[in-house]
């Protein structure tokens, strides 16, 4: 009886693992996100402001997709000096996960039952998604560009919650998010396993009201993430 129970548990565990989507591999960012990810788009909060800059897109100076900026953010963008962007000091300042996920660069995903690693080519950033049930650390733990991510599976969707993200560019146009930004993401594979879709919902009451959303996608490919090895000696002038 005991042996039968063990066998049954083992079998159920194997079935569960077999049903977990396999995100492993090399993924090319799509310059224009694939519209086939509609099932994730349909789950976005209806009041979220959509930021359409994923992949090849970029918002210009003063364009914030209709987000209502806080007074603090308005002051920040009004005082932003774009000339600093062409200096060596700025060249290798990595963006945060709130921006870099939608950049048009490849990534590798390495997946285990309790940990998923995203190796991003853009600025050599690495994300760890903890699936072991841990919670976020205390609020005063130092923040980083990739933040602290915990995830779980809801059916075939990977749901990731990220906090502790260090302040950085939010739209690559002088508008920065704060250290208090909170990111909720849903990843889902296409039926053929060759396209990966992602929606992000962002909240950052320090700099904008309500919620913001992004959507992006990747195609599975053959290759490797190259080192970015940013050289701070860059100067555009």
């Amino acid at each position: 009886m005991r042996r039968s129970s063990c066998l049954l548990l083992s079998l159920l565990s194997s079935v569960a693992l077999a049903q977990t989507p396999d995100l492993n591999g090399f993924w090319n960012a799509q310059l224009v996100p694939a519209p086939e990810g509609q099932m994730l788009l349909d789950k976005l909060p209806p009041d979220a402001v959509f930021i359409n800059d994923a992949g090849a897109g970029e918002l210009g100076e003063g364009e914030y997709s209709g987000l209502q900026l806080s007074d603090e953010a308005r002051t920040q963008v009004a005082n932003y000096d774009f000339a600093v962007e062409l200096t060596p000091e700025f060249a290798c300042a990595a963006p945060s996960v709130a921006f870099y996920m939608q950049a048009p660069f490849p990534m590798e995903i390495h997946q285990d039952e309790k940990l998923i690693v995203f190796r991003m080519e853009y600025y050599d950033q690495v994300r760890l998604i903890h699936l072991d049930g841990r919670e976020h650390p205390p609020a005063d733990v130092p923040h980083s560009k990739s933040g602290h991510s915990v995830g779980h599976w809801e059916g075939d969707e990977l749901v990731v919650d990220t906090t502790h993200i260090a302040s950085g560019s939010f739209m690559n146009n002088g508008f920065n998010h704060s250290d208090n930004i909170h990111l909720t993401e849903r990843f889902k594979l296409s039926a053929d396993g060759q396209t990966l879709f992602l929606t992000q919902v962002t909240e950052d009451p320090d700099v904008f009201a309500g919620k913001a959303a992004r959507y992006m996608s990747w195609r599975k490919g053959e290759g490797y993430v190259f080192p970015y090895d940013c050289d701070p000696n860059y100067s555009g002038e």
Binding site: F50, G174, D229, Y234
Partner: protein, 140 residues
């Protein structure tokens, strides 16, 4: 405030598609602020140096006008990582190469641009940002 819905996404997607190919823009700095996406500039000169490192490669070359006045131009590339996958390398240029450089001009009017295409004296070309539709799945 513009909220998300499927229609918004579809409209936004169409706008983005209409803006291609010149909006292959993301970089460590704002493209739209520093360069004119709606314009092209083309100059012919002689290579002085080439630096091929992220976040942008920089080609320095000298352009001599009809009056014999020489101006040093600088032209930055999009990410070298992307260009490596298109065949660029740190040895793509050597001092003395005669090149015709097509790109998006700097907004401030300085002799600076983002490279779209470089044509060498023997006719071979290197493609930079937004000069040709990228292959499926290829980032820019």
């Amino acid at each position: 405030m513009r909220h998300f819905n499927s229609r918004t996404f579809t409209s936004a997607l169409l706008v983005l598609l209409a803006a291609l190919p010149v909006s292959f823009a993301q970089a460590h700095h704002s493209f739209a602020v520093h360069f004119v996406a709606e314009a092209n500039t083309e100059v012919k000169g002689v290579v002085e140096s080439f630096r091929f490192a992220n976040p942008h490669g920089v080609l320095s070359f000298n352009v001599t006008d009809a009056n014999g006045v020489t101006t040093q131009w600088k032209a930055e590339t999009n990410s070298p990582n992307i260009l490596r996958r298109r065949g660029w390398s740190k040895d793509s240029f050597k001092p003395g190469d005669e090149v015709t450089v097509l790109g998006f001009p700097a907004r401030d009017g300085t002799p600076f641009m983002r490279i779209s295409k470089v044509t060498f004296a023997d006719g071979h070309e290197l493609i930079g940002q937004g000069a040709a539709p990228p292959a499926q799945g290829e980032a820019d």
